[in-house]
C-alpha cells in the first residue's frame, strides 16, 4: 500500500503521469471449499483474497462464494476476474463502496453479512480458468468476524423455486385459503383431503414443473396470495402475477452481470444472472420475494362465473368447465420470470408504445428504457418481407403502437426461439418464420385489445398462448427459448469485450460548446488504462471554466478517481507563486463515462449512430448532475503523421496547458484546433479558450478566442467568441512527460475579457502529458 498522493502538489492533471500503484497485491489464496475466517474492522475492506480456478474445468462447474458474519453487521462481497480491485484511487484516497461496485464483475450487497454468489459458465463474465479476485467490505461500525468460502462445484445443486404461503393477511395478500380446512376429495393425482391442502399441493406442483425446466443457482422466491380480485357472474380475473421489481444496468447504477445495458430485467432473471438473491443484487433486507402470484378468492362463489372453480388436479383435465390451476399458475409465474413486455399498451397511461421509465403517474413519463423482452420483439413488414427490432432506436412509439394491433406484424426475433423446433412457423421462409406475438385489433380505429398484447404467443398448445387451452400445458414450450433470451439461458457465454475509447475531444450534440478533452495518459494492464479528462464547459453565467478528472478505464468505463474529499472530478486554481495548480475545495464533482453499448442508453437514443464511438457521461458538479451522450470530434485515423495531438504542459512550469487536435489534409498542412487552459485572473481562476490553425506549421501564430456559452443545465444558446490574444506553437516531436526539452514550445498572451489580467509565456518549452497518437 502506498501513501496518499497529495493532489496539492500536482500540476493540472499531472497525476496521470505518476506511476502510483493503487492495488495491494492479493496475498491470500483460497482453497476450494475451505473457509477463511477473519475479523474485519468496522468500515473497512480487504482485497487480500483470491481463488485460482484451474484449467480443464468440467462442464457445468460453478464457483460459489459464501460470506457469513456475526450479529447485525452489513458486509458485502465483490468478485472480479483477471485483474485486481483497486484499493486506492489515483489520488491516493482509500477505495470506497462505489469503487468496488465499479470494479466488480459480481457483487452481493444485501443489508446483512450473509452473502452468496455463484458464477457459472453462462454468466456474463463466465467462469473460466484464471484468478478470481475477492473484495470484502464491512459497512458496519463494529469489527465483525467473517467466514469466506469459495467452492468450485462440479455438480451444483439447483436453487429451485421456494414458495411462501402466508399464514396471515398482510396488506392485500391473504394466506387463509391455503389453510382452508374444507374437506376435499383427492382429484387428478392431487392427494390433498382439504381444499387448503389441494391448493398448496397444486401450487407446489406448478412450481416443481417449472423448476424442472429452468435452472437457477439462487432460489426463486414466490409469494402466493389470495385476494378478492375482479369478479362477476360473467367475468372474473382468475389469477395474476408479475415480478416484484425490475432492475437494469446504467451508468449511475451499475449491474455488469446483465448482458443488455440500459434494459429492464425482471428481478428473478437479474438475480439469476447476478448469481445471488434479489437483496444481494439491489441491497436492503432479504424479505421481498421475486414474484407475487395472486389468486382470486372469489372464484368458486356461486355468483361468480356460474360457480365454476379451480381444478387442482395434477393431471390436466381434457374436458370440464373448471379452470386448470396448475397451467394457469405456471403461465402466470412465467410472466413473473420476465416473459413480460413493458412498453405502454394503454392509451390512458401515455403514448402507446412508449418505453417504461418508472416515473410519473403511470411509469411512462420522460424517457424510458428498453426492456429485454421487448428487445427480442420485432415488427414485421409482411408486404416488404422485412422486419425491424421493436425497440430499435430508429423505431418510434407510433410504429410500436401500430405493431401492437397489426394482427400478424408483432414477432419475436430472438434466435433461440426462431430456430427452435417448437416454433410452429419454423418452416416458413425468413422473416415469416419469426414466432408471432399476440397483436389483435379491437374496435375501429384499432386499439390494443384490453391489455392483451406483446406478452403472449399465438401458438396453439403453448403455455404462453394468449388464450387458455384444454388440456392445460405442463411444459414451457416455445416460452423456454424465449425466456432464455431474457436471462434464463444456460448456454456458455463468451467473455465480454469492452470498449476502449479513442483519445479525442468528445462532445454532446445537445450541449454544443461544452466538451471533454479525453486523452489516454498511461497504460495500466492491472487497474485499467489511465485517462486524463478535461471537462471544458461554462459556469452559471456562461463564462468558460474547466474541471479535470484522472481515472482508470475499468471494463470500458472511465471512473474519475476520487480525492480525499470524495470528489472524482476536481476544479483547480493556478498558484502564481509556485507556478502550479492547487485544488479548489469550494466545489467538487464526479465523472463517470460508460463507453459500452451507449447507443442503447436513453441519453444517446437521438444521436446519429454514424458516430464512431459513443459514451454516456454522468457528471456531477456540486449538487448539479446530468447525463450526456458524447462522441469523438476527431478520430485518430484522421490525424497526420507525426501526430502531435494530445495535452501539452510546461513541466515544472505547471498549472496551464494546451489541448491539441490535428487533422490530416490531403496535400496540405494539417488543420490544428487547440484549447488553451489558462489562469484568467489574479486569483488563478482557470478558463479555456480556443485557437485554430487552418494550416499548421511550426512557429505559426493565430488568434485566441474566449468563448461565451450557457451553463451545463441551461437551455442552449449560440456561443459567441471574443478575441483575447494570440498563440504561437512550435510543435515538432511528440515528446512525453518529464521536463520539456525545448523541441516543442508555445508562446501566448491572453487577457480574459474584463479581468485586466494577462497571462503569457514566451517560447515556453512544452511536452505531452498524454500518450502521443492516443497511445496507438
Amino acid at each position: 500500500m502506498t501513501a496518499p498522493y497529495p493532489i496539492r502538489r500536482l500540476g493540472w492533471a499531472l497525476a496521470a503521469l505518476v506511476s502510483m500503484p493503487a492495488a495491494a497485491a492479493p496475498s491470500i489464496p483460497l482453497s476450494s471449499g475451505t473457509p477463511a475466517t477473519f475479523a474485519l474492522q468496522g468500515n473497512s475492506f480487504t482485497t487480500s483474497y483470491y481463488l485460482d480456478v484451474p484449467a480443464n474445468l468440467a462442464q457445468g462447474t460453478q464457483l460459489r462464494l459464501q460470506l457469513s458474519g456475526t450479529g447485525t453487521a452489513d458486509a458485502d462481497v465483490f468478485v472480479r476476474y483477471g485483474t485486481p480491485f483497486a484499493d486506492r484511487s489515483l489520488h491516493g484516497a482509500n477505495a470506497d463502496f462505489d469503487l468496488f461496485r465499479r470494479y466488480a464483475h459480481y457483487a452481493a450487497i444485501s443489508g446483512t453479512s450473509t452473502e452468496s454468489l455463484v458464477v457459472r459458465a453462462s454468466s456474463r463474465q463466465p467462469l473460466r480458468p484464471g484468478r478470481w479476485h475477492i473484495a470484502v467490505v464491512n459497512l458496519s461500525p463494529p469489527s465483525t468476524q467473517l467466514s469466506l468460502t469459495a467452492t468450485l462445484q462440479s455438480a451444483p445443486a439447483d436453487g429451485g423455486i421456494q414458495l411462501e404461503f402466508p399464514t396471515a393477511t398482510s396488506g392485500t395478500c391473504s394466506g387463509a385459503p391455503w389453510n382452508d380446512s374444507t374437506p376435499a376429495t383427492p382429484t387428478g393425482g392431487n392427494p390433498g383431503t382439504t381444499l387448503g391442502q389441494q391448493r398448496r399441493n397444486a401450487m407446489q406442483r406448478a412450481a416443481e414443473l417449472l423448476a424442472a425446466q429452468i435452472k437457477t443457482p439462487a432460489p426463486i422466491r414466490i409469494r402466493a396470495c389470495w385476494r378478492d380480485l375482479e369478479a362477476s357472474a360473467t367475468r372474473a380475473v382468475l389469477a395474476q402475477a408479475g415480478p416484484t421489481n425490475l432492475t437494469l444496468h446504467e451508468v449511475d447504477e451499475p449491474a455488469p452481470w446483465l448482458p443488455n445495458r440500459y434494459s429492464w430485467y425482471a428481478i428473478a432473471a437479474a438475480s439469476r444472472l447476478a448469481g445471488t438473491s434479489a437483496c444481494g443484487v439491489v441491497g436492503g433486507a432479504c424479505t421481498q420475494p421475486d414474484i407475487v402470484a395472486t389468486f382470486n378468492s372469489r372464484i368458486g362463489a356461486s355468483d361468480v362465473l356460474g360457480g365454476r372453480t379451480f381444478d387442482y388436479g395434477y393431471t390436466p383435465a381434457g374436458t370440464g368447465t373448471n379452470f386448470d390451476f396448475i397451467s394457469i399458475t405456471m403461465h402466470e409465474i412465467a410472466h413473473g420470470l420476465g416473459f413480460l413486455g413493458l412498453v405502454n399498451i394503454e392509451a390512458a397511461d401515455g403514448p402507446l408504445g412508449a418505453r417504461f421509465s418508472g416515473e410519473g403517474a403511470t411509469g411512462y413519463s420522460g424517457t424510458g428504457y428498453n426492456d429485454v423482452y421487448g428487445e427480442n420483439a420485432a415488427i414485421l413488414n409482411a408486404n416488404a418481407g422485412t422486419w425491424k427490432p421493436f425497440l430499435d432506436a430508429g423505431t418510434s412509439d407510433a410504429e410500436r403502437a401500430a405493431a401492437l394491433v397489426s394482427g400478424n406484424g408483432l414477432r419475436w426475433w430472438g434466435p433461440a426461439a426462431v430456430g427452435s423446433p417448437l416454433n410452429n412457423l419454423a418452416a416458413q421462409p425468413p422473416p415469416f418464420n419469426l414466432p408471432m406475438l399476440y397483436a389483435p385489433c379491437s374496435g375501429s380505429p384499432c386499439a390494443p385489445q384490453g391489455g392483451s398484447t406483446l406478452s403472449h404467443l399465438v401458438q396453439a398448445g403453448d403455455l404462453m398462448n394468449a388464450s387458455y387451452q384444454v388440456p392445460g400445458p405442463r411444459t414451457l414450450g416455445l416460452a423456454k427459448p424465449m425466456l432464455d433470451a431474457v436471462g434464463w439461458s444456460d448456454a456458455n457465454a463468451p467473455a465480454p469485450v469492452f470498449t476502449q475509447p479513442m483519445s479525442s475531444w468528445w462532445f454532446d450534440r445537445n450541449h454544443s460548446g461544452h466538451g471533454l478533452d479525453l486523452q489516454l495518459a498511461r497504460r495500466d494492464a492491472n487497474l485499467g488504462d489511465v485517462y486524463n479528462v478535461i471537462f471544458y464547459t461554462f459556469d452559471a453565467t456562461g463564462r468558460p471554466e474547466i474541471y479535470t478528472s484522472t481515472g482508470n478505464l475499468v471494463d470500458g468505463v472511465f471512473v474519475g478517481g476520487r480525492d480525499q474529499n470524495g470528489n472524482g472530478m476536481q476544479r483547480v486554481r493556478y498558484d502564481a507563486a509556485t507556478r502550479t495548480s492547487v485544488l479548489d475545495g469550494s466545489v467538487g464533482g464526479d465523472l463517470i463515462i460508460d463507453f459500452n453499448a451507449a447507443a442503447s442508453a436513453p441519453a444517446c437514443r437521438s444521436v446519429a449512430h454514424a458516430a464512431p464511438q459513443l459514451g454516456v457521461m454522468s457528471w456531477r458538479v456540486g449538487t448539479s448532475r446530468g447525463q450526456w451522450c458524447i462522441e469523438p470530434l476527431v478520430t485518430p485515423d484522421s490525424h497526420p503523421t507525426p501526430d502531435l495531438s494530445g495535452q501539452w504542459y510546461g513541466g515544472n512550469d505547471s498549472g496551464w496547458g494546451i489541448g491539441t487536435q490535428m487533422v490530416r489534409r490531403g496535400g496540405a498542412a494539417p488543420f490544428s484546433t487547440n484549447l488553451i487552459y489558462y489562469p484568467a485572473d489574479a486569483s488563478g481562476t482557470l478558463r479555456w479558450a480556443a485557437a485554430d490553425f487552418e494550416s499548421y506549421a511550426a512557429g505559426a501564430t493565430t488568434s485566441v478566442y474566449s468563448v461565451t456559452g450557457y451553463c451545463r443545465t441551461c437551455t442552449p444558446v449560440t456561443t459567441t467568441f471574443t478575441a483575447i490574444g494570440s498563440l504561437s506553437l512550435t510543435l515538432t516531436e511528440p515528446t512525453v512527460g518529464g521536463q520539456p526539452t525545448g523541441v516543442n514550445r508555445a508562446s501566448f498572451s491572453l487577457t480574459f475579457p474584463g479581468s485586466g489580467y494577462t497571462f503569457s509565456r514566451t517560447n515556453a518549452p512544452v511536452t505531452l502529458l498524454t500518450l502521443p497518437a492516443g497511445g496507438q
Binding site: 491470500i28 475479523a39 475492506f45 480487504t46 450487497i109 425482471a266 439491489v282 413493458l342 448539479s624
Partner: protein
C-alpha cells in the same frame, strides 16, 4: 492415560491451543478503512422498480354460456406511488440543477 495427555491435563492452555481451528492460524487479510467522506454508504446500487403491469388470466362467459379464458396484462396500480416518488426525486434534482 498417555504421558502426553497427563501433561496436557495440567496444561489446559495447551488443549485449548490444540483445539483451535486451523483457520485461526490462517494469515489475516490486509485491511484498510473505507474511503469517502463520513460514514460509508451504499450510494450506488442497481435500480429496483416495480413493473407497470402484471399479467392475469381472465375468464369470460359469453352470451351462449361458453367460457373463454384470456390472458391479459393488468395495470400494477400499487406501483404507481413508487413512480410518483421517482418523478419527484427527478424534479428535485432538476430544481437543484437550476439553482
Amino acid at each position: 492415560m498417555s504421558p502426553f495427555l497427563r501433561a496436557a491435563r495440567h496444561l489446559p492452555g495447551l488443549i485449548t491451543w490444540l483445539a483451535m481451528p486451523v483457520a485461526a492460524f490462517a494469515v489475516q487479510p490486509e485491511q484498510l478503512p473505507l474511503g469517502g467522506a463520513g460514514a460509508p454508504a451504499k450510494t450506488i446500487a442497481p435500480l429496483a422498480v416495480p413493473p407497470p403491469q402484471l399479467a392475469g388470466t381472465i375468464a369470460v362467459i359469453d352470451a351462449d354460456g361458453q367460457v373463454a379464458l384470456q390472458c391479459r396484462e393488468v395495470p400494477n396500480l400499487e406501483a404507481r406511488a413508487t413512480f410518483l416518488e421517482r418523478a419527484e426525486r427527478r424534479r428535485l434534482q432538476e430544481q437543484e440543477n437550476v439553482q
